[in-house]
Structures are given as structure tokens and as C-alpha cells.
């Protein structure tokens, strides 16, 4: 959207060069170059290269409690460990991603994860007198394996613990495979590739009408400033 606003602003500038240059002249800028500066902004001009913030910065965790994050991290590591030269869920920052995804998810989905993680932690304490995050792979398997099910389409198992574990497994796996870390390492054999596809941008979003009860002042059709005359 920022890029589109930029293009729009540029278009507006193209339609009002006289005003711009008259302002520049009054402010005694250096003499104008042989061509207006904006002619250099064309399809041959390289665009600055940027990275997604989440790949560089440390995200703030908002949704899970610290203990739930520890439990989720261990669960993610057990269900999707590094294998075949590919990073695992932890290396792909899946726990941090799920904290972000769940923070805006529906209440039912949030409850599924929080109650599921709390249950896993309490089962770990009950059976092994240890937090889940400290369990060995074998011990974690004792808690996980009985609840794994096969399932299809949009119908995960309905039993509470099975529902949580199978959905979490599915989402941890997908989030790992769709991560930059996974797709940046070489593929061998039939290893799954991250999803790619035709991405649709919001269509005419910045022009979207806002109803009067939301917008105190009607949105202007463009962002050109106005000046007192």
C-alpha cells in the first residue's frame, strides 16, 4: 500500500510540476537538473531490497505465558525436529510465529492451544515430575503418541487432547515447511517445498468507503495537502 501511495503521489506531482518548481525557485534551490528528478524513477531504477521484519528482528511475545512458550517450544521440537539437513520447528521460529498467529485467532482456537499446552504440562508433572520442556524425546512420546490420529479435510479429531495435539502438529509442520529457514536449505529426495502461489493484494483498498459511524471526517480521495490561499 505504501508503494501504491507513493505511485499516486508521484502521479499527482506529475500533474502539478509548475507549482512545485515555483516553490523551489522561491526557496533558491540549486539550478534544476536537465531532466526532472522523477524521470529517473522508472522501471530500470533498482528498488531497495528489504527483508521481512520477523526474519531479522526479535518479535515480542504477546499471547502465550512464558511457561506455555517453553512447553510449545519443546512440543514443536519433538514433533518437527531437524531432519535430513532441514531445520526443525524451533530453528524455523515456529513457536514465535504461532504466538503471533494465535494472538489474533478466534477464541476457540486460542483456548485449544492454551488448554492443550496446560494439559501437557500437568501430565508431564504428574507422570514424570518434570516440566514438559525438560522431558526426553521418549518421555514426550509417552504423552503424545496415544493421542495421534489420522484425519482428513477440515475434520480433526474431536476428543479434546487428540484435537489439540493433531491440530498443533499440523500447524507446526506447515509453519516449518513454509518458513524461510526451511526453504533456504538444500532439498533432497521428496522433501516438501514451502507453499508458493498467486498472491492477491487488497483490490482498491485505500479507496474503501468507511461508513459514517466510523469515519468522523470523510476520507479524501487522495492525500494531496491543501494550503491557505
Amino acid at each position: 500500500m505504501q508503494r501504491r501511495n507513493f505511485v499516486r503521489t508521484l502521479t499527482a506531482l506529475l500533474t502539478a510540476p509548475r507549482l512545485l518548481f515555483s516553490q523551489q525557485a522561491k526557496q533558491q534551490f540549486p539550478a534544476a537538473a536537465p531532466l526532472p528528478w522523477y524521470t529517473g524513477l522508472n522501471s530500470r531504477t533498482p528498488l531497495p531490497r528489504t527483508e521481512p521484519a520477523a526474519e531479522v528482528a526479535t518479535p515480542e511475545l504477546h499471547f502465550f505465558s512464558p511457561l506455555q512458550v517453553q512447553t510449545l517450544s519443546r512440543l514443536a521440537d519433538v514433533l518437527m525436529p531437524p531432519l535430513g539437513g532441514k531445520p526443525g520447528a524451533v530453528e524455523a521460529h515456529v513457536p514465535e510465529f504461532l504466538d503471533f498467529l494465535l494472538s489474533t485467532s478466534a477464541q476457540a482456537r486460542q483456548n485449544l492451544y492454551t488448554t492443550g499446552l496446560d494439559w501437557l504440562e500437568s501430565e508431564s508433572q504428574r507422570k514424570f515430575k518434570s516440566p514438559f520442556s525438560k522431558l526426553t524425546d521418549e518421555q514426550a512420546g509417552v504423552l503424545i503418541q496415544p493421542w495421534l490420529r489420522t484425519w482428513m479435510n477440515d475434520h480433526p479429531p474431536a476428543e479434546p487432547h487428540a484435537s489439540f495435539l493433531n491440530i498443533a502438529h499440523d500447524e507446526i509442520r506447515t509453519a516449518t515447511i513454509n518458513s524461510r529457514a526451511w526453504n533456504a536449505t538444500p532439498f533432497t529426495g521428496i522433501q516438501q517445498h514451502g507453499a508458493e502461489g498467486l498472491y492477491w493484494s487488497p483490490i482498491e483498498p485505500e479507496l474503501a468507503y468507511e461508513p459514517p459511524h466510523v469515519a468522523a471526517n470523510p476520507r479524501l480521495p487522495n492525500s494531496m495537502p491543501t494550503y491557505k490561499r
Binding site: 521481512p52 520477523a54 519433538v78 514433533l79 518437527m80 525436529p81 531432519l83 535430513g84 510465529f97 498467529l101 489474533t104 485467532s105 478466534a106 482456537r109 503424545i144 495421534l148 490420529r149 489420522t150 484425519w151 482428513m152 479435510n153 477440515d154 475434520h155 493433531n166 502438529h169 499440523d170 500447524e171 509442520r173 506447515t174 509453519a175 513454509n178 518458513s179 524461510r180 526451511w182 526453504n183 529426495g189 521428496i190 516438501q192 514451502g194 507453499a195 508458493e196 502461489g197 498467486l198 498472491y199 492477491w200 493484494s201 487488497p202 483490490i203 482498491e204 479507496l207 474503501a208 468507503y209 468507511e210 461508513p211 459514517p212 470523510p218 480521495p221
Partner: protein
Amino acid sequence: MLIVNPELFDVLIIGSGHAGGMAAKILTESGAKCLMLNAGPVADITRDAQRKRSWDLPYRGFRPPQQVPHVFQADEFNSNVWVDEHEVPYTIPPDAPYNWVRVRLFGGRSLFWSRQSFRLSDYEFKAHSRDGFGEDWPISHADLAPYYSRVEEIFQVSGEPNNLPQMPDGNFIPDPEEWSTSLLRLKAAGQPRNIFVCRQRRANGRDGLASSVNLLLPDAEKTGNLTSIANAVARKITVDKNTGLPNGCEFVDRLTGREMSVQARIVVLAAGTLESTRLLLNSGLANSSGILGHYLCDQIYGAGVSCSVPEARGGKSKGIMGGGAIIPRFRNITDKAPGFLRGYAFNVYSSPGQVGPRNFAAYGAELEKKMQEYYGSGIGFGIMGEVLARYENHVTIDPTVTDAWGIPVLHIEAKYTDNEYNMGKDAVEQASTLAHDAGFEVLSTNPVPNPPGYSIHELGTARMGDNPKTSVLNKWNQSHDHKNLFVVDGASFTSAGWQNPTMTILSLSMRASEHLAEEIKRQNI
């Protein structure tokens, strides 16, 4: 209010998908001056879409949680093409979810449909006469067959004649695809039980697209008789105070909120089943029968079986795997199925690719080993089952909620009953038996249908019939109450059938529009 010289059109068409596109093509070619309103913008793929990778997107390809919570088909790539549920909400009872899946781009859902192309048979048109439930349609397959044939030509439907009364043959182009041996094995397994495994019937369109925007609207525009307005959100059909007949509509400009109106001699609704009915309900029209909004139906999806072909495992899928098939309805044709009326079909997919991880109760290294072993051996059955058209499944206007333009929204009440749930269970049993007989291993099953609406085949609510007391439209998709009002989309369906309804919607719209064009010429309307 002063409106200087408002243009009076012959026909106002609301909606630009398959139904509206066909009406525009037929009516403009007959010489009628038509105005088309569409609630959303024109999607320009060169401007609005580009290939992206999930790891470059903030949600890693997952469906953004808030935008379209009821659209199971949505993911991060396509979430902006569906109607935003906050912008145009609808209400449902807490215990009855309904997935209303909508597209308001110019061309509507015709841009994205699955392209499966079937005719309804007299097992659907005359279903009441066979099993006593519901109502017969006021037309038969013979009435619609000539129109189906022309639609199949326009949409370049490929297929193979099967000579089955429950799946009438059509005007097909050849399907050159060689069948893999997994499908041939399935075909052999079905024969002793009168279960027919047939080639898919699919609209190929032009350049791979089978949409209103490339197959119908260009013909209409070529006539010079079509005027179209995008981003026109219809609020209400207006009525002539003297005659009581519809004479246009009020709409809101989506982008500015500006209120506008247009005038026409005839109004054709093609906004999609529930939007057309919503507009009629908000306008207080076409409801002398009191059944407008009732008999909402669709098809159950979601139930099915996932299998593996053992011989294809370990990289040996070539020749064994690949392709798709349709198993048309086989229940309640020559037998009497226990626990349900009507029937269902199966879509069959044979895949030489990955078998999904959900098919294995395993994780970590064990799961990877399983997926490697089973790679290239997956074959699946997905149900398409008829949902009975019941009075109780209905829509009304919710007086307490409006959309972003202040237009009252729909309240949808629809539930599946034992008929649909028993159908789902039977489908899993039948598919599992068929798979076993073909030598496939069943990996996972699901007998439970997805919520109503999921199939994106919502139908009924302004059904056609001969009796004005029990139907909204006559057999020409014309309102019993207002002779210059037509509804040419899925709202007109009397029953759902198991079939993808697109070919029927197109054929009904073509038939109704040609009738309308004749009536205009005869000055009957």
C-alpha cells in the same frame, strides 16, 4: 432530489457472474439496452496479483485469522478475493454455523469455480414424483437440454458419453487424458455393484479460464448494448408507484458511499443465490407466497476416504497414478438406501505426488519415513451429496445488523439432518468397500460433512414452481408477483441435486433470458 434526464435502460442486471453474464449476453444480442451493476471492483491480475512465496508473507501462507473466518477455502494467498466478513457480515444462530463464501469481484465466483460441469437429470427435476419429498421442478431435463448443449459449447465442456440416466450426456469435446491404472482398477471394482466410475466432465473454457468475464461479457460488450458499473452495492429495488412494478434500483457507490439510483423497464437479479434473495427481502418484493428465503439447500462436502495404492509406492507411480474421475449418484437409483433419500456422487483424485501427513498417526522421523514410503500412491474420494430442500432452512433480514453501507444483512438458519449425516456415513462405507475391492489401503476416513454453505453451492430461497402459493418464480425464472422481475441465479432452484450447479444456472439464465427477449419483442412486458 433532482435527477436530470436519467437514462432508462431496457433491462437492469444485478450481478456479473455466470448468471448475470449469460443474461447480459443473450439480452444485449437480442437488441436490449442493458445496465449491469456489480458490487465489487474489476480484478486485474496484472495489477492485483503476483506470485509470492509463503515465507515472504506475514502469516506464512496461513489464513489471516480475522478477515474471513467462515471461508475454509481461504489462505493468505487468496484471502483478499473473498468478501470481507466485517464489511458485509451475516448472522447465524450460535449452534448452527453456516459458511457463506462470497466473491464480489466483477465476474463473481465464475473467476474461481472448480469447473466441474454436470447436467441435472430427471432424478432431480422430478425427484418428488420418485420419493415424495419436496416439490418437482416445473421443468424437466428435456426442457433444458437444448440450452445445456449450447452452454457446453460455449464453455468447452470435456467428457465422455456414459449413457447413464442419472448423469445425462452432453455436448462434449473429447477428453484426451489417458486413464491411469488406479482409475481403471476402480472402474472394474465398481461394475459388479452398479457403481460407475466415469471420466470427469469439466469446462475448459478458453486459455484455461471458464468465466463470465472471458466467455460471456465480451460478447455482450461487442453489441454496444451493455453498460456496466463496478462497485455498485445494490440497496433496494425501486417500484413504480402507479403500476407497482419494479423500475430500477438504488445503490451505494462502494468507494465513496454516494447514493445513486438507476431506472429500467425490467429487472434481472443475478447477484448469487443469497444476495438476490437479500435484495428482494430488503425491497419487500416477490413474496406473496411467504416462502421467499425458504428452502435453502446445497450439497454436503467434506465426507470422504483417503487411500493408498500399494503398487505405486516407492517411486513406482508412473502409469498407475494420476487423473480424476466422477462416480455419479448410485444410491436410490435402482436400490433403496437405508436411512436417507436421494444420493451422492464421489469425486476421485489419483495423485502421483505427496500423500499428506494427516494420513499417518506419526511424527518426526517416523512420519518422514512413512511419507517417503507412501509417496506417489494417494487416491481419494470426496462426497458431493444432495441436501434436501427444507422449509426450515431459511434466511431472513436481521433487523439489528447492517453492512458497511448501512444495508440490513442476512440472518441464515440452516442445519443438516439425519438424511445428510446418514448419507455421509454411507459414503464412507461405500468408498471404503470400493477401495478394498480395488486393492487400495484405506488410510483415513471422515463421515462428517463440513458446515452448510461450504460447497459454495447455496441454492433455493426463491424457488421456481407452477403454483404461486408455493413458489416465488415461474418456470421462466419470472416472479409470480411482478412480471418484469426475473431471478436467474441459483436462488431459483427447487432442489439441489448432487451436481455442481453451474451448468444448470447458466442454462436456466440462457433460457429465461431468451424467453424474456421474446416477451420484450412481443411487447408483453
